[in-house]
């Protein structure tokens, strides 16, 4: 939990008729935090961002920015600025005029205004391009102009609505690095909306994963990837092998479950865990399974057959059939020992670490803040 909340969202709901775009969402985002709202399209992440910006008014609940209630405050009086998905560069103005747009209302003296505009352009590495016309800019440059135009206002919170989705892969990765260092340099709160889990993992201090207008989990990238609370969160953040298990014993801090082929596993007991009739789902990430070569031995082994193989350059994705398991296991192997040359149907042994399993809640509404 952040020490000083910059944004407090308290029981915010947004209904469109009977459709719940946001369903009783509560959240705190700290000052100086890089926070991501992650989820599939229609999960409510954009509605939440637009409510913070002031473009959408919640049906119920309260939004506070830096302690001030802002729920009904119009967008032009909030200490937030936004980078729009399509950047919304004013087409009739050049780069300098775009960046200076919001400053005009502050009635600064000309020299001060020019200094702030050129500082903002330096910040996004567009130095000297202030006379460039809007339609002469590349996608990456448009995005930088949108960033500069927002940052020049010195907002308390910068809101980014899928800012990288229109860029090609190479440029997107480059902009991710820049966005992260820019946020560290200016030190203000960034709230990023994205459906790209890698983008959220790479950029954020914390991530909120949303489904169906609700927040399923809020945590650091590492925690949310390694300790997802629900099946949907685990699934959305990457590959996961799901296994059905039976609850055998329950203690205050941990639980034991019995699985078909992995035997008895002891798991950390998540907050608010409530099993339904003794059946639970556990998961293990594909990269936590490892092939054993030749006479290599491991404390926990399993025998299987290669059912499918997909070559990804630096790694190979394998599908391993194991007798007694309903679903084959997926795993990711580096190609150092020849995983990319394993024939289909080959018998293999794999090693696993029982500590890598996580206990998952089925109900996506079960895990609440």
């Amino acid at each position: 939990m952040p020490d000083r909340p910059m944004i407090s969202i308290e029981n915010v709901s947004r209904y469109y008729g009977t459709y719940r775009a946001l369903d009783d969402v509560s959240l705190e985002i700290g000052a100086g935090e890089f926070f991501s709202l992650l989820g599939p399209s229609g999960c409510g992440k954009t509605t939440l961002l637009r409510s913070i910006a002031g473009f959408d008014v919640p049906t119920a609940g309260e939004i506070r920015i830096d302690g001030t209630p802002c729920t009904l405050l119009p967008a032009n009086r909030r200490p937030t600025n936004m980078v729009f998905q399509n950047y919304a560069i004013f087409p009739h103005l050049d780069v300098g005029e775009n960046v200076a747009y919001g400053l005009k209302r502050l009635k600064l003296d000309a020299a001060e205004e020019r200094r702030r505009v050129s500082d903002a352009l330096d910040q996004v590495r567009l130095t000297g391009l202030d006379k460039r016309k809007a339609n002469e800019l590349s996608g990456g440059q448009r995005q930088r102009v949108a960033l500069a135009r927002a940052l020049v206002m010195r907002p308390k919170v910068l809101l980014l609505d899928e800012p990288l989705s229109a860029l090609d892969k190479k440029l997107r990765e480059q902009m991710q690095v820049e966005l992260r260092s820019l946020q560290k340099a200016v030190g203000i709160t960034f709230i990023l909306v994205t459906h790209d889990q890698y983008e959220a993992l790479a950029l954020s201090d914390r991530i909120a994963v949303m489904f169906g207008g609700r927040i399923a989990q809020v945590a650091t990238p590492k925690e949310i990837y390694q300790r997802p609370r629900t099946r949907m969160v685990a699934d959305f953040l990457g590959g996961m092998n799901f296994l059905q298990a039976r609850l055998t014993s329950e203690r205050s801090g941990s639980v034991s479950v019995e699985t078909a082929r992995f035997g008895t596993i002891n798991l950390e007991r998540p907050k608010g865990f409530a099993p339904t009739n003794g059946h639970v789902t556990v998961g293990i990430r594909p990269e936590r399974l490892r092939l054993l070569w030749d006479d290599e031995r491991a404390p926990h082994e399993l025998v299987g057959r290669v059912e499918n193989r997909a070559y990804f350059g630096e790694v190979t994705h394998l599908t391993i059939g194991v007798d007694g398991l309903e679903q084959p296991l997926s795993m990711v192997e580096t190609n150092d020992y020849g995983a990319d040359d394993l024939p289909l149907g080959a018998e293999i042994r794999l090693a696993y670490d029982p500590d890598a399993f996580v206990l998952l809640s089925e109900d996506e509404r079960g895990a609440r803040m």
Binding site: A53, N76, F84, N86, A88, P91
Partner: protein, 271 residues
């Protein structure tokens, strides 16, 4: 492929030539005869003169008609463009019940027989006891110009990205300031284009003006009156040539502006 097929149809270029000849030769003859030093429009040409153009300047009735046309044109352009802005904005920005029928009804005057509309307007005006005047001409022509104005404006507004206005609010601007600093400049070329198109249509419009103008003729009505006198024909040709020139210039500028508006609004959509 296409070239191949065209070669198989050798009469196509000839057809196109005849088509354009038929369409534009009569119009080209107008300026040709307007510079001809003879009172009749017969070949061979008698020699070059600009006296017919000079005679236009001394003709007070004609100048009065030109003034009337100017007044009507400016009023029609302003009113129909203002109403067109409202309609185009409603159609491109909002989704509402009856949107399609409403659009259809606004566009309908394009397809209605103008003379019937003119007669019914005349009947209503007389029933209401109003005097025929330039005001009645303006009202009648506005009905016919709104569809044109709306088409031009819709194409300009269509690409207008709502997030531009949101970006402006987000940067602290008020609703009025946003309209002045973003909305208006971005759609200005489309508005200018609409003004020019409707002015041109009004300038050339005859039927409504003929029925509704009373004792104050516009230029086309004046020309119609002059056609009874054979001696006035060269002067009419000179006047007609000027009107064609004005129309071509105005519509060209309008089209250039419309394309600029389209480019401008689309520029925001390309990532």
């Amino acid at each position: 492929m296409l070239l191949h097929r065209l070669r198989l149809l050798p009469f196509l270029p000839a057809y196109v030539a005849v088509y354009f000849l038929f369409l534009y030769l009569p119009i080209l003859l107008l300026p040709v005869f307007s510079f001809n030093d003879a009172a009749t429009t017969t070949l061979p040409l008698a020699g070059f003169t600009t006296k017919w153009y000079a005679s236009l300047w001394g003709n007070t009735v004609l100048l009065q008609a030109a003034r009337n046309s100017l007044i009507v044109g400016v009023c029609v352009a302003l009113i129909s463009t203002i109403l067109g802005i409202c309609a185009a904005r409603a159609i491109t920005r909002y989704r509402f019940r009856g949107q399609r029928p409403a659009t259809g009804l606004i566009m309908a005057p394009l397809f209605l027989p103008e003379i019937i509309v003119a007669v019914s307007l005349l009947m209503i005006v007389l029933q209401m006891g109003l005097e025929l005047s330039l005001v009645t001409v303006i009202l009648g022509q506005v009905v016919f110009c709104i569809p044109y104005s709306m088409s031009v404006l819709v194409s300009g507004f269509e690409g207008f990205d709502r997030s531009l206005e949101e970006a402006s609010y987000d940067l602290g601007e008020t609703a009025i300031g946003t309209f002045r600093r973003v909305t208006l400049p971005v759609v200005a070329p489309a508005i200018v284009s609409s003004l020019l198109v409707t002015f041109t249509i009004s300038l050339d419009e005859f039927i409504l003006a003929f029925f509704l103008s009373g004792t104050e003729p516009t230029l086309p009505v004046y020309i119609w009156g002059q056609l009874r006198f054979a001696a006035k024909l060269p002067g009419v040709l000179a006047l007609g040539s000027l009107m064609i020139l004005a129309s071509v210039v105005l519509l060209t500028v309008a089209e250039v502006m419309r394309r600029r508006a389209e480019r401008r609004t689309q520029a925001t959509l390309v990532p």
